[in-house]
Symmetry: C2
Amino acid sequence: MPELRKDPVVGRWVIISTERARRPSDFAGQPVTPAGGPCVFCEGHEAGTPPEILAGRPGGGPPNGPGWTWRVVPNKFPALRIEGELEPAGEGVFDRMNGVGAHEVVIETPEHGASFATLSPDALADVLRAYRERLADLKKDPRFEYVLIFRNHGEAAGASLEHPHSQLIATPIIPVMVAEELAGAARYWELKERCVWCDVVRQEARSRRRVVLEEDGFVALAPFAPRFPFETWVLPARHRAAFEESDPAELRALAALLGEFFRRMGRVLGDPPFNFMLHTSPLRAPALPSFHWHLEIIPKLTRVAGFEWGSGFFINPVPPEDAAEALRAGGG
Amino acid sequence: MPELRKDPVVGRWVIISTERARRPSDFAGQPVTPAGGPCVFCEGHEAGTPPEILAGRPGGGPPNGPGWTWRVVPNKFPALRIEGELEPAGEGVFDRMNGVGAHEVVIETPEHGASFATLSPDALADVLRAYRERLADLKKDPRFEYVLIFRNHGEAAGASLEHPHSQLIATPIIPVMVAEELAGAARYWELKERCVWCDVVRQEARSRRRVVLEEDGFVALAPFAPRFPFETWVLPARHRAAFEESDPAELRALAALLGEFFRRMGRVLGDPPFNFMLHTSPLRAPALPSFHWHLEIIPKLTRVAGFEWGSGFFINPVPPEDAAEALRAGGG
């Protein structure tokens, strides 16, 4: 059973994931790379994943066989386990609890070589619908407080399988990075009675220097204080707290914007490794006036080193105004 | 001039470092690797660095020539600049200030192929003395609130030069990671009137499961909630808030422990990339009863991916009890 442990000073939680336990000798030398063999996320290899939770089968057909356009399956090596209760416990100054949660994989397409840049708008909208469905379903489990949806592309960004996929992890605690956003946004609301992201979107729409793309109610921005070169945030132009409340038309517009964004990023940066993370409101507080859902896209072009790990400052060699200009010009 | 920018939601500062500015095309493909040529940190190439700030020359001799055992020089490509005033300014919802600070390099030895594992205890104690001297000197500059000392080893840990060196960056703001430790430790103090790290050291000394090494007043521990496999914290067993108040005997004992730790880490993990970061008390609050200086050593054996960047949770496949046991057994 994985275990959640809390740092007694800063309150940071870590997951000690015994499911993935490795011996010390496994770390000597290079990082472990996946063994060869057929891709378990490709069509025809459905038996290589745990039984599917949800899938798109436009032509019908039984689950766990071919004919799908996307699938959601449990992660075979989950960071957290779906069974059990939290059972918080102390050990002197320390706190721990059972590593209860959900860890799922969204297989975005049967095409091994596809990407967000090449998927059709309809296929990409299906992926976003899968996110929405899973959020809505996991919300029913009272043990969970949050669902983080994320995507790793490229080995340098932590991807261990090439086949296009995103992941979600449902946690019994609101993750600290979301909690900090909630707290900061609540402070801003207290001061101004406005959503801070709404204010940012309005200000950026006027100055335009950091606007990358706009599309039917959605905007892609280079944030004013980006941690990483070409970091980009995508958010609804009007206030929306909970991603799972997006309607089909909104998801289609978002899919169109994301496809265009990733094509531009590819043209400017040449298929870089990247992560993206969806920050939506907590499962138990979906209608916050102070919180605005957003997708953070971080290309991994620089190394994170001791200064960043020790300070929390990030050193970014590319001003966001330059990054936005390059991505705007990358329209092809 | 580099610029400090603050995220309007979470208050995170980033450094937009125009000194290091690169064009978008520089990021396409692989990360930039340093050009060939002689190592500017080697003896005889002193002209390749900015003029030295401090050096050890046991046989005497003029600055910026050979004959040194360690040197401190300004970073040739500083993340922050020593000249100027802060000049905070707003831009609508955003905050920025001039990127004022100091960025220095401690060249630890003339031997290009040496490491903390191979340096003599005296040479290693000299490096620690250099840290102390620079902290004490930079404290005199009223613009600075903090000095972060750190070391990057190996390309995966962000090192761009092989020659053994550490770095320090003096900042006009207390870095958020230190601020969070200060706040957490102050809350603990309010509750218990004890230093939380003192309590951790006492508890670990009793259970011994996460103790890696002890040496004359210093202890190396695997933290209870480590972010990374084999993460290790080194701290004085008795309460000490400010590193720069360490006396020569303490620095010798610390050097002995660090040398032994890095030899063991090398035996167990085979010279892994790593970072370390010294968390000492802020320059203007050196005698805090609630804060305890410590060195955080993080081998870089796993990738940080979207889940970590999006949540602030870390997934660690190696329980710290196992890591401590392996490092204890690696005594050779």
